[in-house]
Amino acid sequence: MRLSDIEKRVDLSLIACALILSGIGVALIYSTGQGPLAASRVGLYFKQLTWLGVGLGALSVAAALPLRIYDGFAKILYLMAIVLLVAVLVVGETRYGARRWLDLGGFLFQPSEFAKIAVILFLGRILSNRRTDWTTFRSLMLPVAVTLIPLALIFKEPDLGTGFSLVAILFGMLYWAGVPALNLAVLVLPVVSMLCSFWGWVWLIFFGAQWLILHRSRLSVVHYVFVMIGNGALGTATNKVWNSLEEYQKERIISFLSSGVDRMGAGYQAVQSKIAIGSGNVIGKGFLNGTQKSLAFLPQQHTDFIFAVLGEEFGFIGCCVVVFLYAVIVWKGISIAARARSRFGGLVCAGVVSMLLYHAGVNMLMTLGLAPVTGLPLPFLSYGGSALIVSLAVVGAMAGIAGRLHEY
């Protein structure tokens, strides 16, 4: 089969972007393994290369499989994901106080990564049902429940960063399924209310905005008042409960919210990461020449903070190239979703795009000090087998959908 034949069947440019990003990742991981203080990271790049090989296989298989196979296996994959997430809570491996990994003979497998695919496919299956009127609130109950179960299990590990990626997936897919944006806004109101309740005037503004949203949504007046009162009560209660907590209890909650992160170093990492990125200037210090990387000890420079290494060694230009590659993947993904004839295919693309965008966006904002430090890998770049394989597989699936737009 010639390349042009393959091109007819899959979207090669999408795959090319993913592979370039993965290559950059391997190079950066190699870089973090250099220098006198890198003993613990020597040779990791080679492992990542191995995962890249496995990931390529996963990508090819994912691209070759017809959509109806995904559709057919969605439910089984979802159930498997739940079983694995429960298993990890029982027999998982612990690192940094979080139980997230299953030890598969030396390879630490992260079921929460697998769960993301499973949730995307299962939500795709549910939401592709045309007989449901997706503009009602009642119709949201099933997809929300399907997301909340794995979400709760992942929070239990705890791994908040990955858990919230399921929320991003849910919202992206609901929106694509035709749920009105206002309905989605109503869904997040309780959480926003809890957060806003800590600042009096912000909370007042929240009520104003809430009134506007509810007014324009399709809720009946009874429900509408109910939601207003409920959110008000929730906010007040949150505030009251928080203030009545002992200092150590607050400490525990904060520690849960930042779980899995080396909190001793979190504030420190943020400072270091900013200095490292900033000192890269326009063109960077050059490959392997990052001084902050090799001297200033970023404990997670090969995983969560790899973007800082990129910023230091390749500067603004290097970072822009990477951001551009993400943009291309996202852009293409959305376009494929829009062109796909199959509703299921479109929904899967929307879910994948939401997931990648959430991971890439939040991780980069975190290294830039604009998002809280929650352990979260940067897709394609960060060291880690499960995440890399999953990212490549989902890109493969999208490329496959692109090549067979008319398939159901």
Binding site: Y96, K274, I275, Y326
Partner: protein, 625 residues
């Protein structure tokens, strides 16, 4: 409206909206990058060149352990450590080689630990600017040698660190546990927030069980350092550093331990090589003393054990690290006749005692002959007398009126087949066989019915831990409440005073052994007679002025001399303590374990000790099972 919503929902519009969202997000990233790398690029480059932020850990202090009267049983004393910074300026500038200095230290101190130090420094280099601790517990001569030669020893510092100290040495070592340095795997699993390299963690006993409360929290401080890792004054135009966090000391933990009683218990076992004593308060389950002999000196672990010392402890034939009170399973012997008696009373089997054969020193069952411990026999005995003199023949016949599973059922009700839940790790559960178990073990009907007779007198496959026996005894003393034994009375903030407060706590019982009040009363009476009766097997546990209840036991031990056991409680009318005593390989319960109980009780009720000669004399004349 309808039209607008369908327009809004068209795929093209939705795609556009998503693209705008994605674009906005990535634009923020690019904008922020521009701000850092281009706009403020030069400032950050400058900062990277000259300044680095370093995180310094401010060590916490471990909470103390106090006994129930406020006496300190574990505290922290300063210990001087030799630390070494391989990132000292002179090493970075290559004026001096790291190895040279290490050689100098070992020559000055006359120690042959060069290889060990080289490995430590090599490993320590992975974390820059954090000094490596070469050795701890320096003595005063070593300190002065280092101080005198300071000029020739760049990067070498003496730092004071708290060291766990147990002022009473071995006393109550299994109750308290010990601390030792955290291992690499623990560091990995817990995260830096909990443990830093070089921190200690509690192991076993209360130190292990209450680790979370005791350890406290490390503080942290961010300091700006230059390229060589030296601290510099923060300059005003730098972004502010995160605030300093003060370390928090661990909680002081008040134990249920009664130091005086513990001392008396250890003294009572003095003459024997190995054994166990556990004393609980039957009113709430408070553990007053835990003796497991032989013990170890927990101070050794704080100082750091050499591999030889560790091997010695570990391969010691009597297993000093084993907590015999919770981890050793003993056959309970006749002490468990009390259980058979309880079952007999509850199932009304004692009502048939008129038909029991009188004891002639043995009992024929089928073709087998089961002996009574007293060759001459006890003649015809009543229930009360049978328990007082521990007549085997009576209990064989009582057992035959019951069944294996009935007995096992009562054992289960008293919690003899499960962990008591004492807050000390590694507790084992006891075992009481059932017919199912025999079927599985030997095959269905491949075992003789005679096992029932053995079980009825506490022999056979039954296994119990001393703490189980003590809670069993406490439940008889308090009328059937099974309390989970507890070891921690309160947590206080570090350095608080604690004045003695001996009242039992109000606690919810783990389970209620629902036997009738008359059963408990009969058992208590019979156990009292076992100590105070003329023929009582536990006579040597008697003390003047206090009504003591108890039961002796002699457990056959296939590996050597019998184990001597004694369980009991006092005062019989309103029990304040319940206890279990095991003296390994020492002989009979009545002659060996009962006097130990007597000494404990004298200490508890503040009676003078009897002269040692008296004990031996009465021991000689005593007839025991």
């Amino acid at each position: 409206m309808r039209q607008r919503s369908s327009h809004l929902n068209s795929k093209q519009t939705k795609a556009l909206v998503l693209k705008v969202v994605a674009f906005a997000l990535l634009a923020v990233v690019v904008g922020r990058l521009f701000y850092f790398q281009v706009w403020h690029g030069r400032a950050y480059a400058e900062q990277a060149k000259h300044n680095r932020v370093r995180l310094e850990i401010l060590s916490r202090i471990r909470g103390r352990l106090l006994d129930r009267n406020g006496q300190v049983v574990a505290e922290n004393i300063p210990s001087y450590c030799l630390s070494f910074d391989p990132y000292e300026k002179q090493f970075v500038s290559k004026d001096v080689e790291v190895d040279e200095v290490l050689v100098r230290i070992s020559e000055l101190l006359g120690l042959e630990r060069l290889e060990e130090w080289r490995a430590l420094v090599e490993r320590g280099k992975e974390v820059p600017f954090r000094p490596v601790r070469l050795m701890c517990n320096l003595d005063i001569t070593q300190i002065s040698i280092i101080k005198e030669n300071r000029a020739r020893l760049p990067g070498v510092r003496i730092e004071a660190r708290p060291r766990r100290h147990y002022p009473n040495g071995e006393l109550a070592c299994h109750f308290l546990g010990y601390v030792s340095e955290v291992t690499g795997t623990e560091l990995k699993a817990s995260g830096e927030d909990v443990y830093q390299p070089g921190d200690t963690a509690g192991r076993t006993g209360v130190e292990g069980g209450k680790e979370e409360a005791l350890r406290g929290r490390n503080g942290k401080e961010y300091v700006e350092v230059d390229a060589c890792g030296r601290k510099v004054q923060p300059t005003p135009d730098r972004p502010p550093l995160p605030p300093k966090e003060q370390p928090a000391a661990g909680k002081d933990v008040v134990l249920t331990l009664d130091l005086g009683l513990q001392r008396a218990a250890e003294a009572a076992l003095e003459a024997y090589q190995s054994g166990a004593v556990v004393i609980v308060d039957p009113r709430d389950g408070a553990v007053l003393a835990v003796v497991s002999k032989p013990g170890f000196d927990p101070n050794q672990f704080s100082v750091g054990l050499s591999p030889e010392e560790w091997n010695q402890l570990n391969s010691h034939p009597l297993h000093p690290l084993l907590n015999r009170v919770t981890q050793a399973l003993y056959p309970p012997g006749s002490t468990l006749k009390v259980l058979t008696a309880a079952a007999g009373l509850e199932e009304n089997a004692t009502a048939h005692e008129g038909h029991f054969e009188s004891c002639t020193g043995s009992y024929r069952f089928g073709r087998r002959v089961f002996r009574c411990w007293r060759e001459q026999g006890h003649g015809r005995v009543s229930f009360n007398k049978a328990l007082e003199v521990s007549c085997d023949v009576y209990f064989y016949q009582l057992g035959l009126r019951l069944s294996i599973d009935k007995l096992a059922g009562y054992a289960r009700r008293f919690g003899l087949d499960e962990r008591t839940g004492i807050g000390i790790s590694g507790e084992k559960a006891g075992f009481y066989p059932t017919t199912d178990w025999y079927d599985r073990q030997y095959g269905s009907r491949k075992w003789g019915k005679g096992v029932l007779l053995n079980l009825a007198i506490g022999q056979g496959e039954i296994l119990t831990t001393p703490i189980e026996l003590a809670t069993f005894c406490a439940a008889i003393a308090n009328g059937g409440y099974l309390y989970e034994p507890y070891v921690v009375r309160r947590e206080l903030s570090y350095g608080s005073q604690w004045s003695a407060e001996a009242r039992p706590l109000r606690r919810k019982a783990r389970a209620f052994v629902g036997l009738s009040e008359s059963t408990f009363a009969a058992l208590r009476r019979a156990m009292e007679d076992a100590v105070s009766g003329i023929q009582g097997t536990g006579r040597l546990a008697a003390i003047p002025g206090i009504r003591v209840a108890g039961k002796t036991g002699t457990a056959q031990n296939p590996h050597g001399e019998d184990h001597a056991l004694f369980v009991g409680f006092a005062p019989a009318e309103a029990p304040e303590i319940a206890f279990a005593i095991v003296v390994e390989n020492a002989g009979h319960g009545g002659s060996v374990a009962a006097p130990v109980a007597g000494r404990l009780l004298r200490a508890f009720f503040h009676l003078p000790e009897i002269a040692h000669a008296d004990t031996t004399q009465s021991e000689g004349s005593l007839e025991t099972e």
